[in-house]
Amino acid sequence: MGEFKVHRVRFFDYMPSAISAMAFNVHTERLAVARADGTVEIYNFADNCFQEKVIPGKDGRTVEALCWAGQRLFSTGLNGEIVEYDLENLRSKYTVEAYGGPVWTISSNSQGTQLAVGCEDGTVKIFELVEDSIQFQSNFDRLKSRVLSLSWHPSGTQIAAGTMDMIRVFNVTTGHATQRMMVDRAAGANKKKEVAVWSVVFLSDNTVISGDSAGKVQVWDSQMGTLIRTHLVTKWDVMALAVSRDESSLLAGTSEGSVVQFQFISARLDQPDKEWQRTRTLRSHSHDVRALVHTDTAAVSGGNDAHLVVRPFMEKVVKGSKESAPCKITFPHRSLVSCGKKAGILLFQFPERLEVWRLGETHCVYACSLQGDDHICCSTLSPCGGWLAYASASSVRLFQLQYDNDSIALTKVKLPKVLRWANQLCFSADSSRLFASFSQSSVLVFALSKSEAKYVHTLKPKSGETTAVHLMSTSDDGQWLATANSDCEVHVYNLKKLKYHCTVPVYGSCPSAMAIHPTGSNVVMVHADQKYSLEQKEYTEWSRSLAKKGLHGSWLNRVAPVTHVSFSASNPDYIILHDMNMFCIIDKSLPLPEKDSDLCNQNQLRSMNEAARVKDSHAFKICEMFKNLLCVGLMEDHSLVVVERPLLDIATRLPAPVRQKKFAT
């Protein structure tokens, strides 16, 4: 493909926010992750842990706990409110004040009919789930100190509540406490400090397991109120507990960043009496593990270092399969960077501000921060670099950029009132139009003139109810617009006629990147499980051969999804795409890699001899020179912009961990 001039950009100081809570919905295999800035992300575990939805946060809203009740997602935080989310339009649906001070925890019963919240004032409140809302039902006996953790017995008749120094068991029907279990304080100097029971788990055999700030994991008999066993796990806090569905395995996350596994096994083989034995220790975090989920096959952990780590249990998965690969998700699965191809400028999106940088300059040319509480959910820059648009949950703004020699001046352009918010924004290739996706996959089209934007049309897909659009792409000739939503549908619209054109046959996996071919009017889609298809009302030859042959095994086993697709302007046969760890150029004219051969990257190829290189070369030209990629963009002048965010830079900006791993301790 030849050589590029590369702009290696490392000044995008994007900081992922700490993970504060997680909840896993077993039936839909969706994981909800809440971050410290209030963002809630939905990951689809059935689809290669793809980040399906992102609900932007809001200033002043922290999420302390998340819970699923059926298909509904609730969160609470220290502002004392219970929030239900609208997962279709990616916004909060409503908030309910709990009237108990800051709320530490929320938990729903297994039937999905009731919610229990634990408040700062020591009350446990029960809410009933009704259609489109929740309704206060009852208060339990008030405790002396804040309720930090709650767990329902699977039958839904009892609740274990962890407070300071104590675990209480409540009868749900009467609201009275039935058991009181005192937790030992730490020895030595911390004797006076009261112990916080950060997490409790109520098992179906009436065992309660607690994790506390003295570093203990304790097993209790809730019927007798007695302690069965103590495991001292760490010198610091045990922040989170998670139990598997069959209640044979338990995970405990500690402030040291390690996750300790306990298993319910018998000491003597062939004997039925079992006990909880500490087994594995997983070390995947450098900081506190705040949230844990035990899926059937993997341990999912997240914490203050902002990584979401999926560690599969080897005995539960087939060796060498896609599930057996451990996976670490650091960056969002969508682009936070937009390139002004012609002008050579870059737009970086932060939750609360935007930055515009010009290539070749060492400082930010323009930074604008957001007014209002809501965080930015999307932003875009027009290819000519003349327009900038961003959207949050409550507003959409459009700016025109004027360049002086050094600086850039922004002038606000008024948008019609129709557009109150948007999920995704996109400019046409000639920068004459702005597309904004609105509720239910509809797309609003605006015509841009010098100083104003005019509403033109609303494009709607044929099928009725659909979810929010997360990808949008226009063709270079301005004829086509493609949108993709989290239901895996891809709709294509004809912009000349301003009408719906077709829907690509639905594939089981969500598209993670998409682009329209500049000349051939084909859509290239990259799915989260790393597959491809091309479309112009029907699949092209190439994609059929691709589908027939299947992709190479080691390509399919890549963990990170492809986040961006573009085309080379010089040779339309080249497709450029990248994920977090590599970028790749696919030459459609070359043969596909053979199944049994190695999928070599370019460095490996270079080190081979001539004959082997010819033999092993294939359509996928993989470059792994750059790491931790946020964006790879091809500029008009054939130079490549590579935006990297080294993980080390992120790690150094985190606060010091409670404990560093020292040699032989």
């Binding site: 000491a267 083989l269 062939d270 500490r278 594995r280 005995e315």
Partner: protein
């Protein structure tokens, strides 16, 4: 091993007691451990060796208590036998002959015996775990037939096999795989750790232990982790937890008998005690001296016992306190110093712990003490250059010790230390430290054997110089002690010197410079003469002793040369690859160790005589570079002719894998066997009051009777009657046995005075003996001046009737005409050459009176038939 009938190469003292894990007896009173070919029983409280169990013909490879009788112990050996011993009495009860090399032995909790032995499979020799039925029998020797193979390929290290929970299953680890075999169900599980990646290279299993009550297997790993395996009866759902404290491999693991604790040890020389079930809590017992090889716990859990890599066994009481240390000869990675014998203690002196010299008494098989030479903290870490003691020398009276320590970090750092023996403290005290005595590494140091007060130390260095150091007395005005300083620096054509040697009287010093041997006078430091025998640089030098003191022997890498210092000419030379030349200080004998390809041959000869007294081929594998003649306390007699060279001193040598071997003559062996058959004093009988009263007296009486009967009074005992009476009278009457029993004893105790006349004689005898000993020691101490006439008369006397000189010579000639001895040596080429060339030399001497530079010519001639050449020799010897 080609053996002469009456000598045998044996491990005598200094063998490894840490080769296999020791065994603690049921009552925790004895510690049984392997020691080369014998088994030693130690007392755990006094560290005393109580019994030597001898009988195995090869290395003992395993020890287990008899599961059906805890007063008996099984041992297995590479000689293919299992022997059952009564360790309290030191008696061999039974010998089971398996007729195959046994590498280790295990007993499950059920009492089944398992052995590790070679198993043929696909023509490759592998080791298998074999279960064995020891037939019940009353006979002494039992042939064991039939065994079943349990495992096909196991490690030979007994640490890698463990029997779990009542003998239900056996766990075996090898490389990266753990195998668990359920003996009853006959099911087999295999758990493998990853073998790829950089971490995997170090995570191989090193040892295994099974919990005594729970189904939990603990394994140690090369990277210092300990894994606790559970649920191992499932192929997939098995689980393990990992604990990690050791920074390098875990060498030993052991559960306490109740299973409450797990003990582990490794390179760090720290015993770690993990709480079972609460692995986060652990206790440490640090500073155990050197890295731990094995851990054993007594059956009641009160004693721990760790064996260490420096041949030491530590007994630890109550998990916290080291109560006893049994130290064997420290086998380092390599002995850098020469082997020496301390004239005072008769102890063997050699490298011990890093930076130390050890004094090891071979007679008692016990380490006497360690001398810290380097006096620096030893840091147990690889890739760290530390000071090492590379050379050491003792002067002939044992009053001075010279040591050289060296560190080769970037540039060589050397210091020479001189230690004076302090009579007061009975140890060596540092007198002088000379830092950087030479610019290059020191290749040899030696003391002059002169008997005066002033001794000279000569150090030879690769920097091209040799230096003589002398003790200089300071001015009387100063308070300073006498210290050593350089007296002379010598060199020769700026060649590198290699070795040096003093003649027996200290009047000559020979220093070799490449091919040239220079002879100096230490009195004036004049170069007296040079001797040369190219090609080949001189590797070793040695003066003859006593009657042969006019000869100087030199070894190049191809030849062994003997110069006559009176004529300054080459007496003879022979093609031998000599690795070590050693002169016996008490006789004319010189021992030469010759390295063949893989094995070492030994020749013992006199420089004046051309034929060796003694030769043994294939002495051991590898090159021998360290050996010593240890003078005997009293000369041995009754040896056959071929072993007469062992009369006055014993030859000890170190093989390349640090085994100390020696020669054992038949009379010695017989004496030892006699000793071991003697019933030893039994200190394991219960200490009842009755015993206290009766047993003691009875024993004394027996001893007395022995003395009377054999009349070999070792030491006279005081009259006992009065003590017995006193004790009888002072004991409370209610604990006394009945009077009728006491009566006869009482009476007999009064009848002591019969042997009074002899008793009076004996003390004088003892005195005389001690005087003699003193004389002896003086003779030995006084650096043995050469007394050729004396010595020859001695030998003459030994030969029998006195002969005249001429007769004597004739007899020798006749002896040489008898060629029967050649037949025995014909198989080995070098020896044949030796004799030929030796035979030739007189002729050659006649031809070339000044042969130094020209000699090689006749040497390289092709050998002629033997019979022809001998003829002229007869002429020369019989003029």
């Amino acid at each position: 091993m080609v053996a002469h009938a009456d000598t045998r190469v044996v491990h005598r003292g200094g063998s490894k007691i840490n080769f296999r894990a020791p065994v603690i007896t049921q009552d925790s009173r004895f510690l049984i451990c392997v020691s080369g070919e014998c088994i030693k029983v130690f007392s755990t409280s006094t560290e005393e060796c109580i019994h030597h169990l001898q009988g195995h013909k090869e290395l003992v490879t395993g020890l287990v208590l008899n599961p059906s009788n805890h007063l008996q112990v099984f041992s297995c050996s590479e000689d293919g036998t299992i022997r059952l011993w009564d360790f309290t009495d030191g008696i061999l009860i039974r010998t089971y002959n398996v007729r195959r090399r046994i590498l280790s032995m295990h007993v499950s909790a059920k009492g089944d015996v398992f052995l590790v032995m070679p198993v043929k499979r696909n023509k490759k020799e592998k080791f298998g775990l074999v279960s064995l039925n020891l037939p019940p029998s009353v006979e002494q020797h039992v042939m064991v037939k039939g065994h079943t193979i349990v495992f096909q390929s196991v490690s030979t290290d007994p640490k890698c096999i463990a029997f779990g929970q009542g003998g239900e299953y056996v766990a075996s680890v090898k490389d990266n795989v753990l195998h668990v075999y359920f003996l009853n169900k006959k099911t087999f599980y295999r758990f493998a750790l990853g073998t790829s990646g950089e971490m995997a290279a170090r995570n191989a299993f090193t040892c295994v232990a099974c919990h005594p009550k729970d189904d939990c297997i603990a394994t140690g790993h090369g990277d210092g982790k300990i894994r606790l395996w559970r649920n191992f009866n499932q192929e997939k759902e098995y689980t393990f937890s990992t604990v990690h404290w050791h920074h390098s491999g875990v060498n030993a693991l052991c559960f306490t008998p109740e299973g409450t604790n797990l003990l582990s040890g490794g390179l760090e020389s720290v015993l770690v005690q993990w709480r079972y079930g609460q692995e986060g809590q652990k206790d440490f017992l640090p500073r155990l001296g050197s890295s731990i090889k094995e851990i054993v716990v007594s059956p009641d859990g009160s004693l721990f016992c760790t064996s260490h890599t420096d041949n030491k066994i530590t007994v630890i009481k109550n998990c916290t306190k080291v109560s006893a240390v049994i130290q064997g000869l420290v086998h380092g990675d390599g002995v850098k110093t020469a082997l020496m014998v301390d004239p005072r203690t008769k102890a063997l002196v050699l490298n011990g712990k890093p930076g130390h010299l050890q004094f090891y008494s071979l007679q008692r098989d016990q380490q006497l003490y360690n001398l810290d030479i380097v006096q620096q903290e030893y840091i147990n870490q690889s890739n760290l250059d530390q000071f090492e003691v590379v050379k050491a020398a003792l002067d002939s009276r044992g009053s001075w010790l010279a040591t050289v320590e060296q560190r080769s970090a970037k540039e060589v750092e050397i210091s020479l230390k001189l230690w004076a023996f302090d009579e007061h403290t009975q140890s060596f005290v540092l007198n002088t430290t000379i830092s950087a005595p030479h610019d290059g590494p020191i290749s040899e140091i030696c003391f002059s054997p002169s008997s005066q007060n002033s001794t000279t130390l000569v150090s030879v260095s690769l920097d091209g110089h040799f230096k003589a150091w002398q003790l200089t007395q300071p001015d009387p005005s100063d308070d300073e002690e006498a210290s050593w300083s350089c007296d002379f620096v010598g060199d020769y054509h700026s060649l590198e010197p290699k070795c040096c040697c003093f003649s027996a009287d200290g009047s000559l010093l020979a220093v070799s410079f490449k091919e040239v041997v220079t002879v100096w006078s230490p009195a004036s430091w004049d170069l007296l003469t040079t001797l040369s025998q190219p090609p080949g640089a001189i590797q070793d030098l040695c003066f003859g002793r006593l009657s042969c003191s006019k000869y100087l022997l030199g070894a190049t890498d191809k030849n062994l040369c003997c110069w006559n210092l009176l004529t300054c000419s080459l007496e003879w030379s022979t093609a031998l690859d000599v690795s070590l030349l050693l002169a016996d200080p008490l006789s004319e004998n010189v021992a030469a160790f010759c390295g063949a390809e893989k094995t070492t041959d030994l020749f013992v000869f006199r420089p004046s005589e051309p034929r060796p007294h003694f030769s043994q081929q294939a002495l051991c594998t590898g090159r021998v570079t360290r050996a010593v003649f240890a003078p005997r306390d009293e000369p041995l007699d009754g040896c056959e002719e071929s072993s007469q060279w062992l009369n006055r001193s014993q030859l000890y040598f170190l093989t390349h894998n640090m085994e100390l071997l020696t020669f054992l003559t038949k009379p010695e062996e017989e004496r030892l066997m006699a000793l071991s058959k003697q019933p030893t004093i039994d200190d394991s009988v219960a200490m009842t009051p009755f015993y206290l009263l009766l047993g003691k007296h009875r024993k004394r009486q027996e001893e007395e009777r022995d003395i009377l009967s054999s009349q070999s009074g070792v030491r006279n005992l005081l009259p006992q009657g009065s003590v017995a009476i006193k004790e009888l009278l002072h004991t409370p009457s209610h604990v006394l046995p009945s009077t009728s029993i006491l009566c006869s004893m009482f009476v007999s105790s009064l009848l002591v005075s019969v042997s009074d006349s002899r008793d009076e004689e004996q003390p004088t005898e003892v005195e005389m003996e001690s005087e003699k000993e003193e004389e002896d020691s003086e003779e030995e101490g006084a650096s043995v001046p050469p007394r050729p006439e004396h010595e020859s008369s001695d030998t003459g006397a030994k030969l029998g009737p006195v002969l005249t000189k001429a007769e004597h010579r004739e007899l020798r000639g006749v002896k040489k005409l008898d060629y029967s001895w050649i037949r025995g040596l014909v198989t080995s080429n070098p020896v044949v050459n030796t004799t030929k060339q030796m035979v030739k030399t007189p002729k050659q001497r006649v031809k070339t009176p000044k042969p130094m530079a020209k000699t090689p010519k006749p040497m390289v001639k092709t050998p002629k038939p033997m019979v022809k050449t001998t003829k002229p020799m007869v002429e020369t010897t019989n003029p």
